[in-house]
Amino acid sequence: MLSFILRRLGTMALTMLCLTLVVFFLINLDPNLKKLAISQTEMHTSAEQLESWLVNHGYRQNFFSRYAQWLGIAPKQPVINPETGEPTKRFSFCNDPVVPTFSGVLQGDFGCSTKFKTTVASKLFPALGATGILMFWVLVVMVPISLLIGILAGMREGTRTDRTLSVASIASTATPEYVSGVIFTVIFASWLGWLNGSAASASRGITFYNFTLPVMTLAIYGIGYIARMTRASMVEVMTQQYIRTARLKGLSFGSVVVKHALRNALIAPFTVIMLQFPWLLTGVVIVEVMFRYQGFGYTLVEAAGNNDIDLLLGCSLVSVFIVLITQLISDVGYAFLNPRIRVQ
């Protein structure tokens, strides 16, 4: 088991390395750098001025050496002020080193946000915290509801309950966040006025009034998906022979479901829930933009829209990390839930 986890961690590190390299490459494509330079300088600057801005801020160093610096396996080089000839900070609003130091992601330095004029860390982590709260409530709503729907539907295949719940879950998987968000806002905010169509105020304090719509919107898409997986898994388990064994032992239907079917039926949905995170991440971006909630997704859109290189890199790193760690948890958890795998 330990060697399995270690091996997975190794693969994970390799994946992160590859992915960050790709992201680094794509963000630093020439057109993107030009766009950054334009947004960071005054209007109507000449091409030479743009180029010199890029040089002055260290964007024209060798690609791999910059990647190594960002990673923290090569010392970060200060930029040389062309007028004084002295090494200076890259950006005045960050604590970039003035002497070459190892200061990259591995050392905990995520760099400098050009859009928010502050360090990436001071922008990214509060945003992550805010999103964490959102995710927590989403999971609290989504997981029990979807499992319940799935189990109720799959328990007795082909009944009216099953068909109704199945169609409902199919409908919910056909409703992406930007659709359900609009519909819910129309119904609950515009017509009924029960809920707030914006979650901007949630940063200062979460209330039922301002937080329900984002949570509901985010949960609805996942509910359908997980419920369908649970149903499929439950249906399959209910046709297994050991369920018949349990029934013919004289157990009541309720105990058959609770004692024998549930545990086996929940193995698959567990994996699904864990693998939902990459999906949820997209949803988080949509919902946070739609409801103006200052979280991770909002930051990511801002960073991407303004070509904020370090911030976008930070965001990618975090999201890729989340995806990979949930995959790991899902694998380990699967092995834990399924004794057949555990021993091997």
């Binding site: 693969t11 390799l14 994946t15 590859c18 992915l19 992201v23 794509l26 963000i27 494509l29 020439d30 057109p31 993107n32 030009k34 766009k35 199945s166 169609v167 199919i170 409908a171 998987t173 056909a174 409703t175 992406p176 930007y178 659709v179 968000g181 609009v182 519909i183 806002t185 129309v186 905010a189 515009s190 169509g197 990459p278 999906w279 991440l281 997209t282 971006v285 949509i286 933009v289 739609m290 997704g297 990511l300 859109v301 991407a304 976008l312 965001c315 990618s316 999201s319 890729v320 995806v323 990979l324 995959q327």
Partner: protein, 385 residues
């Protein structure tokens, strides 16, 4: 100037009437399918259940809407009639006397017409991108599942790499105006569009190696048609000027194929690993068949059921993705009538007007719902065999 309005009932009637070519086509196709369902194989079996009929019906509805868009839509989707700005549903456009059935948006365009034309964009890009993703996923998934070992390790690693990218981030990186200045989208298009040509060439080569009469015809056709489409799509050099794609659409297309082929790859790989243990595969091996013959002719046909189901779901998912792209204003032109862009435009103004938001949301939802119902019903039916 005061706008004239027609009543809610008339709006409903008007909408139903505008769709007349769609209704006719639906009745003809559904009626014929229902009458001959016994002879239509898996497709015919769909008509045995209410869910299946609903799925087919909804999908065909949008297909015909896309085909007859110019007849159904009363207005040009891009035309702005200043007086109709933010007009409520049922407003009569004074010049032509036609009705803005679902009202006007903030740029005074007809919401109904935009919704109808939006279906064209979705129904072209989503199935085509899914088709290419299938080609890529199948061509790579077959050897990964069949050979296992190093090939599998490398390909699976690459697939997981792409899957580990949050979709939204991938699109922010791949579908930006800046990237179109670089050769990256064209290189990717060049790579992806090669897969179908390779796939069909190998398919025919392995099967008809010993029957040159057929082989040369089929290979020739594959290379001519494939090369023609390839030239048109990748180099925009179609000598007949029939096949052409906008650079920004090509960009979206490539990004969507890139994002969804690893999913297909994983499914195909899993199916192949299962099917290759069957005796008929061993029988093919013992008569000395080449590995690619076995993959393409012995294994792939038996994986078609789950793949068709997956393709349906995937078209739906791609539709959602396209909507997401539109919602974030990525790739598509800002005035484009596609549903995602329309939802983005409308959702900013929800506090004042809700009518421009509802038609595209409901359209998108119903189309995806139709595809999901279709997939679900296909799965049910194919399990019964």
């Amino acid at each position: 100037m005061q706008l004239e309005y027609i009543g809610a009932f008339d709006v409903v009637l008007g909408v139903l009437a505008r769709f007349w070519p769609v209704w006719i086509a639906l009745v003809v196709v559904m009626g014929a399918s229902f009458a001959y369902k016994k002879r239509l194989g898996l497709y015919g079996q769909l008509f045995d259940s209410a869910v299946g009929i609903a799925g087919v019906g909804i999908c065909l509805f949008w297909l015909f809407t896309a085909i007859f868009a110019s007849t159904v839509a009363p207005f040009n989707p891009l035309a702005q009639v200043a007086i109709m700005k933010d007009a409520l549903p049922g407003a009569v456009e004074p010049q032509s006397g036609l009705v803005y059935l679902f009202g006007g948006d903030k740029l005074a365009r007809d919401v109904f017409s935009r919704m109808v034309y939006g279906s064209q964009i979705v129904l072209i890009i989503a199935p085509a991108a899914t088709g290419f993703a299938l080609m890529v996923g199948i061509t790579l998934g077959l050897p990964a599942g069949y050979y296992g070992g190093k090939i599998d390790t490398v390909l699976s690693f690459l697939a997981n790499l792409v899957l580990a990218f949050p979709v939204i981030l991938l699109f922010y990186l791949l579908v930006t105006p800046g990237i179109m200045d670089t050769p990256i989208p064209y290189a990717m298009a060049g790579l992806f569009f090669l897969f179908p040509i390779v796939f069909f060439s190998v398919l025919f080569w392995t099967r008809y190696k010993k029957r040159p009469d057929r082989l040369y015809i089929l290979l020739g056709l594959t290379l001519i048609i494939g090369g023609w489409v390839y030239a048109g799509l990748v180099f925009d050099a179609d000598p007949f000027r029939i096949i052409h794609i906008d650079p920004n659409q090509l960009n979206i297309f490539v990004a969507v194929v890139f994002a969804s082929s690893p999913g297909v790859f994983r499914i195909v790989r899993g199916l192949v690993m299962d099917i290759k243990t069957r005796d008929y595969v061993a029988a093919a091996q013992t008569r000395g068949e080449s590995p690619w013959y076995i993959m393409l002719w012995e294994i792939l046909p038996n994986a078609r059921g789950p793949l068709i189901v997956d393709a349906c779901l995937r078209i739906g998912y791609t539709t959602i993705l396209l909507g997401t792209l539109g919602y974030f204003g990525l790739g598509l032109a800002p005035e484009s009538p596609d549903w995602g862009t329309a939802i983005k435009d409308a959702s900013r103004l929800l506090r004042s007007f809700i009518h421009p938001a509802l038609p595209p949301t409901i359209a998108l939802m119903s189309f995806v719902l139709g595809l999901n119902l279709l997939a679900d019903s296909l799965r049910e039916q194919s399990m019964k065999d």
